[in-house]
C-alpha cells in the first residue's frame, strides 16, 4: 500500500473540486485531488456549457443571478480559452406569455445584468437561423464555456505548481481519528493498488456522490438528484446563445459550443439509487427536438449526434427532507460545526458558472482550518492557456500547418498551442479529422493532462466528438496510446473497445437518419472488418 502525506485532500474532479484544488495550490497548500473516474466526467461535463449571464435566474433567484454575472465577467478573463463571448438572446414566441419579457428586463436591472431590448429584425440579423416569427428579443451577455477545458486548465495549473492528482481512483473509506477525518483510503482502478492519502483537511467536492462520502464519515447529508438531458447537433446551428423567454422549462435553450450546438435541457427527479445508470428517454428527445425547432427551425433538418444526461444534486441542508429545506444555491458545510466531525468540509449545490466562487469559499474555510493566511487569487490569475491579453483570437500561422488545424488546437489549448504544434511533421498528422486533432495534441494530452484512456483523451481534445463519433479516430488513438507508450498493445485494444462502447451510449437514443448510417458504417469497420467484438467477447471470457 502506498501512502501519501499532504495538506488538503479534495475528493471529486468536477469543476468545484478542480477549482478548489487550484485555489489551495495557489495559496501554497500542498493538495491532492482524488477522482473516481476522470476529471469533469460527472455532472460538470454533462450540462450544456452555457456561460450564464445570470438572466436565466434573474426572475426566480436573484442571488444566483448576481453571482452569475460577477463570475461571467471573471471567467471571460481568467479562462479566456475556455469561454466564447457569443452573446445571448431571449426570444419570445407567439405562444409565450409576453409579460415574462418585461419581468426579465426589470429583474436583470435588479441583478445588474446588462439586458437590452432589440428589434426582432436586429435579432434575426444577429442570428439568421432564428425562428422568423419571434415577437420580441432581448440581448444579454451570455456566452459558452467548455467544462472539460476549464477543469483541465485548473488541474494543469495546480499540477504544474506541484500538486498531485489521482484520477480513476475511488475512495473506499475514511480515516477517522479522534473524531476528525484525517485522510482517505482509495484504490487505483487500473493497477488495483490501494493508496492511503493522509491530510489535515478533507474536502468533499463530489457533488451528488457526496452523500455516500458523508456516510463513510458517519454523517447523513441527503441529496436529491434530478436528471437533465440534452441533445447535440452536428454543427453550429447558431452562433449566439438562444434562450426562450419564458419561465424555465424543458427545451428552452440552444447553446453553440465549439463546433456543435446543444439543445437543453429537461429536468426529471430520479431516485438516488439510479445515479449510476442514467439514460436519456425517448420522450425527452422528442421534447428537446420539437421545442428546439421552435427556437431554430433548422433543427429538424440537422443531424443529431448524441444525447446525454447529467444529474443535478439538490442538497437537504438540515436533514429535513420534505422539500422546503432543499437548497438550490451553494451549500458549504463545515462538518465540525454541523456534525462534530473535524477536518471535513462538504461543498455542494451551485452551478458550473459559480465553480470559482464556490472554490474560493471552500478554500477560505479550509485555509482557516489549516492556519493559512494567504488570500484567494483565482479571480485575477489567468489559467494556463489564457495568459495572453484578451483580444479577438487571432490565429497564428505555423508554416506547413493548415490554419484549420492551428485554429482548432488554439481553441482547445489557448496559448499552449505553440508547445503542441512543434514544426515536426509527425506532430501535425491528423488523428481526428472532424475536430482536427493532431498526433502532437494527443502526445501533449498523454504527457501533460492526466489521460488514462481514450474517453479521457476525448475530454481533453474533442477526439471522437465530431460527426463520425470516432469512426476513424478511435483506432488511430488506440494505436497512438501504444506508440507513445501510454498503454500496452493489449491494453490499447481494450481502450478501443471501451471507447466505442462509451460513444454508443450517447448514440443509441438518437439512432436514425445519417446517425444510423454512420453507425452501420462504423459497425462494418470495427466488427465486420476488425472483428473487435470477438476480441471483446474473448476479453470477457478471460475475466
Amino acid at each position: 500500500m502506498k501512502t501519501i502525506e499532504t495538506g488538503a485532500i479534495i475528493i471529486g474532479g468536477g469543476a468545484t473540486g478542480c477549482g478548489t484544488f487550484r485555489d489551495l495550490t495557489l495559496r501554497g497548500v500542498e493538495t491532492v485531488l482524488i477522482e473516481q473516474s476522470d476529471i469533469s466526467s460527472g455532472t460538470t461535463g454533462r450540462n450544456h456549457g452555457l456561460l450564464h449571464s445570470g438572466a436565466r435566474y434573474a426572475v426566480n433567484d436573484l442571488e444566483s443571478a448576481k453571482e452569475c454575472i460577477a463570475e461571467n465577467r471573471v471567467l471571460k478573463i481568467i479562462a479566456r480559452h475556455c469561454v466564447e463571448d457569443t452573446g445571448g438572446l431571449f426570444i419570445t414566441l407567439p405562444e409565450d406569455d409576453p409579460d415574462y419579457h418585461n419581468r426579465l428586463i426589470e429583474h436583470c436591472k435588479y441583478a445588474g445584468i446588462p439586458c437590452e431590448e432589440i428589434k426582432t429584425r436586429e435579432a434575426l440579423k444577429l442570428e439568421p437561423n432564428l425562428n422568423p416569427n419571434i415577437l420580441a428579443a432581448l440581448r444579454v451577455p451570455d456566452g459558452t464555456i467548455d467544462p472539460f477545458r476549464l477543469c483541465s486548465a485548473n488541474i494543469l495549473d495546480a499540477t504544474e505548481r506541484g500538486a498531485k492528482v489521482l484520477t480513476h481512483t475511488a475512495v473506499e473509506s475514511m480515516i477517522i481519528d479522534g473524531g476528525a477525518v484525517r485522510g482517505v483510503r482509495c484504490r487505483d482502478a487500473a493497477s488495483g493498488e490501494q493508496i492511503e492519502v493522509r491530510g489535515e483537511v478533507v474536502i468533499n467536492a463530489s457533488g451528488v456522490w457526496g452523500q455516500r462520502l458523508c456516510s463513510m464519515a458517519g454523517i447523513e447529508l441527503l441529496m436529491f438528484p434530478s436528471k437533465g438531458s440534452m441533445v447535440i447537433i452536428d454543427y453550429r446551428i447558431n452562433n449566439v446563445v438562444v434562450n426562450r423567454c419564458r419561465v424555465p422549462s424543458d427545451g428552452d435553450i440552444i447553446v453553440p459550443g465549439d463546433t456543435v450546438s446543444i439543445i437543453g435541457t429537461t429536468s426529471r427527479k430520479i431516485d438516488y439509487s439510479d445515479i449510476e445508470r442514467l439514460e436519456v428517454d425517448d420522450d425527452e428527445i422528442d421534447v428537446l427536438i420539437s421545442d428546439g425547432e421552435k427556437l431554430i427551425p433548422n433543427v429538424s433538418k440537422a443531424r443529431i449526434l448524441r444525447a446525454y444526461c447529467g444529474v443535478r444534486p439538490l442538497v437537504a441542508v438540515s436533514g429535513n427532507v420534505d422539500g422546503r429545506e432543499i437548497s438550490r444555491g451553494i451549500v458549504l458545510v463545515d462538518h465540525e460545526t454541523r456534525d462534530g466531525v473535524g477536518g471535513f468540509i462538504t461543498i455542494a449545490g451551485g452551478k458550473l458558472m459559480t465553480y470559482r466562487l464556490m472554490a474560493e469559499w471552500t478554500a477560505d474555510l479550509a485555509a482557516k482550518k489549516l492556519g493559512v493566511k494567504k488570500k484567494c487569487s483565482t479571480a485575477s490569475t489567468a489559467l494556463p492557456g489564457s495568459e495572453t491579453r484578451p483580444r479577438k483570437p487571432k490565429i497564428r500561422r505555423f508554416t506547413g500547418i493548415a490554419k484549420s488545424v492551428v485554429g482548432s488546437t488554439f481553441y482547445r489549448h489557448g496559448s499552449r498551442v505553440s508547445s503542441i504544434l512543434e514544426r515536426k511533421k509527425k506532430n501535425y498528422g491528423l488523428v481526428c479529422e472532424c475536430e482536427m486533432v493532431t498526433a502532437g495534441e494527443v502526445y501533449y494530452a498523454l504527457r501533460k493532462l492526466n489521460v488514462k484512456n481514450i474517453v479521457d483523451l476525448r475530454r481533453r481534445t474533442r477526439i471522437g466528438m465530431g460527426p463520425c463519433q470516432g469512426e476513424l479516430c478511435s483506432y488511430r488513438a488506440a494505436g497512438l496510446f501504444a506508440e507513445f507508450g501510454a498503454a500496452t498493445p493489449q491494453k490499447a485494444n481494450r481502450l478501443l473497445i471501451d471507447f466505442l462502447e462509451e460513444r454508443w451510449k450517447g448514440i443509441k437514443p438518437i439512432l436514425w437518419g445519417d446517425g444510423l448510417r454512420e453507425m452501420e458504417f462504423t459497425y462494418w469497420i470495427y466488427q465486420g472488418l476488425f472483428g473487435l467484438g470477438d476480441i471483446a467477447d474473448d476479453g470477457e471470457d478471460e475475466k
Partner: protein, 399 residues
Amino acid sequence: MIHLDNISFDQCIKCTVCTIYCPVARATHLFPGPKQSGPDAERLRIKNPDLVDESLKYCSNCKRCEIACPSGVKIADIIQQSKWRYLKKKFRLRDYFMSHTDLVGTMATSMSFLVNFFMGLAITRLFMELVLKIPMRRVFPKYNSTTFRRWFRTIRKSQEAYAQKAVFFHGCYVNYNNLDLGKDVVRVLNAMNIGVEVPREKCCGVPLIANGFLKKAKKNARYNIASLEERTGDGRAVISASSSCSFALKYEYSNLLALDNSRIFNQVEYITKYLYSRIQEGGLPTMKPVHLRAAYHSPCHLERMGGVIYTIDLLKRVPGLDLVILHSECCGIAGTYGFKKEYYDISQSIGGLLFKAIEAAEPEVVITDCETCKMQIEMNTGYEVLHPVQVLARAFREE
C-alpha cells in the same frame, strides 16, 4: 454569420471515398482533398471563418467528389462557396481577362487575325508568363474572324420554315472560337427537321464563378434566366453544345449562385440528350457511314449531369464509327484552371492518365463534349478532337 444554404455537409459520414476520386489530390499534395476541404472544414468555418485554409484554391471544381459521394454531399459546391466567402480576394488582371469571355471575345474576334498572330509569338507568351502568370507552354484557342451570332443573322430567315424549333444557347466558345461547331449544330438540327433560334445571352458564368467574379456571374445568370424564360414559355427546349454551359444553366445557377432557375430547369438540355429524345420520337434521318476510329472522353461536368449515356448512345448509332469509350478520367484543364501558371503542372499531371489511355486506344480522332477538354487533349496528344455533334454532322452530310 452562418450561412446554411448548403447544409449537405451535415450528411457526410466520413467514409473517405471522395478522397480516392479527387484528381487534384492525386496530382498534388498541396490539396488536402475534398473531404477535409469540404465537409470537415465547413463545420469549422461555420464556427470561425478565420479557420479557412488557403489550400481550398487548388480545387478545380470538377465535381468528381460529388459523383463519388454516397451521402449526397455537394462537396465541390461547398468548396466553391467557401472560396468566395472566406478567402481573401485579390484582383488579378489575368483572372479578369480569362473570365470575362464576352468582353475579350468581342475584342478578339474583331481583330482575330492580329490576336491569333500575336498569341503565336514567343515574345507575347513570354510577357504573358512573366506578367500575367499564364504559362508559355499552354496553347490558346484561336479566335474566329466573325462571331457565330453574326453568321447566324445571315441564315436566320431559313430557320423560320421549321415547325419545331429549339433555342440554341451557343455560349462564348462557339461564338468566338469555334464557328464551325455552331454551324454543325444548326446543320444537325436542321437535318432532323428542327429550326434554330438564338436567344440574347451572356457568358453562362462558369469562368466567372471559377475566378471569383461572383457579382458579375450572378448578373449574367439573371440575364440569361430572364432571356431564356422569354423563349421557353411554350415549353421549347434550350440546348447547348457545351457540357459546362448546360451544367451551369441547370445546376450552378441554383446550387451555387442561389438563383431561381426552376422555370427553365426542365427546358435546358445538353444537346446530345435533346437529340436523343427527338430520335426516340422517331426523328432520326438516315446516317451515312463515318469511317473513323474514335476514342470518346467524357467530361467531368457531363458525368456529373449524367449526360454521358446520351452522347454514347448517339455515337453508337453512327455507322462505321469505331468507338472506344475511355475510362472516365479528368483531363485536368478544368476551364481556366489549367491556364494559370500556379496550376499548370497539376493540370498536366491530372491529365496524364487520360493522355496515356488515348495513346493506348490508337484512335484517329478523339471525341468529347467540352471545349476546354478539347484544348487540353489537342495540346497534349496531338489528336484532332471533335464534338459529338460534328460527328453527327458528318453522318448527316449530303452527298
